[in-house]
Amino acid sequence: MTRASLHPARIAIYATLLAACALYLIPLLVMLLTSFKTPEDIRAGNLLSWPEVVTGIGWIKAWDTVGGYFWNSVKITVPAVLISTLLGALNGYVLSMWRFRGSQLFFGLLLFGCFLPFQTVLLPASFTLGKLGLASTTTGLVLVHIVYGLAFTTLFFRNYYCSVPEALVRAARLDGAGFFTIFGRILLPMSVPIIMVCLIWQFTQIWNDFLFGVVFASGDAQPITVALNNLVNTSTGVKEYNVDMAAAMIAGLPTLLVYVLAGKYFLRGLTAGAVKG
């Protein structure tokens, strides 16, 4: 410890940072504490008090209610994330390395997809799903997520591949490699950082989605976000806050886990395009 680190300004900085940290963490703490309390405890004590009896009953009840929907979310999210990432990579590859007449315009139009609010695509999407015979199916919901996500994944991969020298593709063509060989053997192995970015981004978007889930899925096929809403918004009977909180934690844990596991790639990948590779 040098004396400089004890300077009042430095103390003020750390105090501010700690305060901000606490402010962000308090809701999480309240949720965690509440989820382990009994309903009587919740009604009696204040929000931040320690549980008088630590009980897992809230978590068990929550899993009984939303557990099935948790697996729905997995079944929706995993294929939607993987397919939209793969297609985005392929799009980015074509738009950066195999430019065709009008490809810039095509890319420009595709970018509009990033700025489209969810609400505007609801009606056209449900119309299309109806025509395809996919209304109210998990496949239909996955399709909507893939199409909506393509604008983002294409943007990520196209910008990443623009920093890859075109000579690599030329060299591979002279070596006799075709379109898919070049993609699979040369470009994809170089793409780990941007694949991570795409996976995190798409996972977060699709797992946390509520609107598409509530519109395009029905009954037992609904994702966990919709189930959580249904649970919390039930107006009959006594409010079981411990169950609500535990269910919300269950719904939020996977995205949290993805960030913890792959977060370092996220930052690295986001800046990878900006710095010379």
């Binding site: 000579a167 030329r170 591979a172 002279l174 006799g176 040369i186």
Partner: protein, 384 residues
């Protein structure tokens, strides 16, 4: 081993845009080393990409061993290329980089191993086979890039400015190695560069390009001694050829060039007598090494006294700059000449080596001294 012939090759990126390549005609024999040289934007790289098949030509034909390949895709042309940026596959190690093309072509694994071993021995990169390109120095990457091209044993090698990313010392080393490699393998090679020294030292044939046209095609000696126009004369040679603007006079039936150094005048008799050259603005071209110091006793050649303005000792030579006809003229003299700024020297030039160019068009006028440039064909732009 293959011959390469370009017949009236044209390349255009769309109507309204100027043509990138205009009526390119050239032919090289099996095993020859062709240099495409010119300033940036002259179309030399485009021409190379067209030969490789990475770009489609808009007209004409490209023939390898008399078979038209211009419609073929790059992989079917049996041509290998070394790129300026090396373009090594970053996620593969050196061995896989060299073997990639062989694997794609479904060569048996044992044969691939043998070929990788042969090439890495040839280029002395055996100890690098396990490394990734990112762990190699520029010179090592260059060798691996060459190894990747050599492994395929193609009909033709293409080199796209392969030395321009190396530092000066390494560039000279690799230049010698490329020449050695070519002498040993005798594979037909096309080499693009903007460096006139590489053009002179490496090539069996040189094509000097500008604005999508071949300005001159010939041996390095023809290009150097007998340039077809002012552009070729100025592009090849370092220090560059001197260009002195003047008017020609006719005296006793012979043409004479009038030189003026400010302190003296000299009438330089020229070895030609064509009509129509007199009383017209021309440019006299003379290379710095063709200007010499007059010996103390007269040798019959006319000399001119001129004041030394700058001296640049380069080691093997002393470059002396004087002014003739209000133009700075560089003379390449022996390094032991005691020339100081302000001194006056008597300079001589060999009339037989002097070149004349038209001041307006830059085309070569008459032929002074050396025989006509019969093999040096000048491409003419034909409107399409």
């Amino acid at each position: 081993m293959a011959t390469l012939e370009l017949r009236n090759v044209n390349k255009s990126y769309g109507s309204g845009l100027p043509d990138t390549l205009k009526n390119i005609e050239l032919k090289i024999d099996s095993g020859e080393f062709l240099i495409l040289v010119g300033p940036s934007g002259c179309g030399k790289s485009t021409l190379m990409n067209c030969i490789a098949g990475l770009e489609q030509i808009s007209g004409g034909a490209i023939l390898v061993d008399d078979a038209d390949i211009s419609g073929m895709s790059p992989k079917d042309r049996d041509i290998a290329m070394v790129f300026q940026s090396y373009a090594l596959y970053p996620t593969m190690n050196v061995r896989d980089n060299i073997a990639f093309g062989l694997k794609i072509r479904k060569m048996p694994a044992a044969a691939i191993d043998e070929e990788v071993a042969r090439v890495s021995r040839l280029l002395q990169i055996e100890h690098l086979l396990g490394r990734k390109p990112g762990q190699l120095s520029g010179g090592q990457q260059q060798r691996v890039a060459m190894g990747r091209a050599l492994a395929r044993r193609p009909k033709i090698y293409l080199f796209d400015e392969p030395l321009s990313n190396l530092d000066a010392k390494l560039r000279v080393e690799m230049r010698t190695e490329i020449k050695l490699m070519h002498q040993r393998l005798k594979t037909t090679t096309v080499y693009v560069t903007h460096d006139q020294i590489e053009a002179m030292t490496l090539g069996d044939k040189v094509a000097v390009m500008k604005d999508g046209l071949i300005q001159q095609f010939g041996t390095p000696q023809q290009i150097y001694n007998d340039p077809a126009n002012l552009f070729v004369a100025s592009f090849i040679g370092s220090p560059p050829m001197n260009f002195i603007p003047l008017r020609l006079q006719r005296r006793e039936g012979r043409l004479q060039a009038l030189l003026d150094s400010g302190q003296a005048r000299c009438e330089l008799p020229l070895g030609l007598s064509e009509a129509g050259l007199e009383d017209r603005d021309v440019i006299l071209g003379i290379r710095p090494e063709q200007i010499s110091l007059a010996p103390t006793e007269a040798n019959g050649l006319p000399g001119i006294r001129a004041e030394v303005q700058i001296t640049e000792p380069t080691g093997p030579d002393l470059l002396v700059f004087v002014t003739l006809n209000q133009t700075k003229v560089c003379c390449r003299l022996a390094p032991d000449i005691p020339a100081r700024v302000g001194d006056s020297l008597t300079l001589q030039f060999d009339p037989a080596r002097v070149l004349l160019f038209d001041a307006a068009s830059g085309e070569r006028l008459g032929v002074v001294g050396s025989p006509p440039a019969s093999t040096g064909k000048v491409a003419q732009f034909k409107g399409r």
